[in-house]
Amino acid sequence: MVLIYIDHSEKEIKKSSHEAISYGAAIAKQLGCSAEALILGTVNDDLTALGKLGASKVHQLNNESLNNFDAKVYASLIATIATHLNAEVIVFAHNINGKAIAPAVAVKLDAGIVTGACSLPNLQNGFEVTKTVFSGKAFASIKIETPKKVIAINQNSFGIQNHELTATLLEMNLPIPPASVKVTHVNKIVGEIPLTEANLVVSGGRGLKGPENWGILLDLAKALGAATACSRPVSDSDWRPHHEHVGQTGIQIAPNLYIAIGISGAIQHLAGVNRSKTIVVINKDPEAPFFKAGDYGVVGDAFEVVPALTAAILKMKHNE
């Protein structure tokens, strides 16, 4: 059986977990077994609808006290449940919480783990999974040598597949270990799309000259419904918050669309964004290295090009 861990926050299942279910269901199909989901805590989502993503059953440890994430408690519960259900493969989204618990679960189950996976397992010579390495500059095919396997799948690398299933909801009852972490405060930036979950990202570099000029970029992001990102010097100079820094030493993202505005395209920056499906480069220097990594390019002054692009998008949306 393939067990997929469902991550949620503020009573809502995360998009990356939807993808993880579809991915887990595809592995279950390869192995000829069932795909079942596991959720700790309570959410507002209709859990039987997870069948549409490929889960035949959803196991829920329906306990409000689990709504605060606690890596140690979560890992211990997931490992216990995976053992109890006799799961062969345990799938996580390689998102913030997945990164915190999947490796611990792997240790507890004596399972080999591949994090940052970006392919279905190849079963020809055992069980090999491809993952991104060198911050997206390369791939490695990793063989998991243990009977049990843990995989954390990169966000936006598999997609969602539709299934005609209604999942059966099964409530579990287990003693909850004492909390090891007390959550004292949550500060969610409202109205902003989290960068790692975003399909569309608009990103700015030093070419925008200063924080006072970010308005044109924010307008474009708003017109598209995109998240915003920036290059390292921009966040280092506090023009933009740290959490927007993408690149080899920032966040690595793989949205469907990445629009780079006034960013030169240094190797360390590209490492964080080159897995984006489509890259648009806006730069006034035709020699900027970013053009080599781009799909579409506009050689021009961002202060003219960006407002014109925003207007064109609004026009397109208006005509739809």
């Binding site: 994430f69 915190a100 940052g116 040598e145 972490v181 959550v183 569309l200 489509t278 506009v298 090009v305």
Partner: protein
């Protein structure tokens, strides 16, 4: 306060990514090694800041690797580590590395074990989480702020679209990222002092790898950028909608 800081070597960020032996090994030819930036800039520097506030703090560094990591570990000592342990083992398997660090951690009485958010070569983000299972300790990942107060830690960690404040009783494990501290450059005094700071080499414990790397590959090269004139933004929107189908 005893802090164990995990240090990993990684290729310099500009290193050429190429492979040898039938694409099964990373080509280390001409590669310049650096301390993994997350380990150095955030985790180690924050440990040093804690020591600057409370000089009774001991900062122990641990690295798992062959003799080639010694210049890296000396640099970490020059920045401000007190002593270092090198476990003489080379492995690409996170589990093996976490087991080695776990074995050392069990011998010391560490209040805080710090790692970087991930290494910039294998990007696995596994060690901190694995250590929490091996040592049965609390773990907070992707932290961008850490304050210690007696035997408790206040940590701010990243969550999707925001931040969360956590209170944890020591001992614990933390993985650090941007915001935690600022990059430092070792000074001459640090470099001199590092030469005589203890660097202990220990042999690895016996443990089995759970995974092995079978093959590396490079992403397909982009086919070339399509240039659109600055006054043709309607055209760009059309391409994004109809050709790329991303909006």
């Amino acid at each position: 306060m005893n802090i164990l800081v995990c240090i990993s070597k990684t290729p310099d960020t500009t290193a050429k990514i190429a492979f040898t032996e039938g694409n099964t090994k990373f080509d280390e030819n001409g590669v310049q090694w650096i301390i993994n930036p997350y380990d150095e800039w955030y985790s180690l520097v924050r440990a040093i800041e804690i020591k600057e506030k409370d000089p009774t703090t001991n900062i122990h560094l641990i690295t798992v690797g062959g003799p080639e990591v010694e210049p890296i570990i000396r640099k970490a000592l020059a920045l401000g580590g007190d002593e270092a342990i090198r476990v003489n083992s080379n492995s690409n398997d996170s589990y093996v590395i976490a087991q080695q660090i776990g074995a050392i951690a069990k011998q010391g009485s560490y209040d805080l074990i710090m790692t970087g958010k991930e290494t910039i070569d294998y990007n696995s983000a596994c060690i901190g989480s694995m250590l929490s299972a091996i040592l049965d300790l609390p773990f907070v990942s992707l932290a961008n702020h850490l304050e210690l107060n007696g035997n408790s830690a206040t940590i701010i960690r990243e969550i999707e679209g925001g931040e969360e404040t956590n209170e944890v009783t020591l001992p614990m494990i933390i993985s650090c990222q941007k915001g935690m501290a600022e990059q430092r450059i070792p000074n001459m005094r640090g470099i001199m002092a590092a030469r005589t700071k203890p660097l202990k080499i220990v042999e690895p414990i016996a443990t089995n790898a759970h995974t092995s790397i079978k093959e590396f590959s490079l992403p397909p090269a982009k086919t070339g950028v399509k240039l659109i004139a600055p006054d043709q933004m309607d055209e760009l929107v059309k391409l994004l909608k109809e050709e790329a189908q991303v909006i």
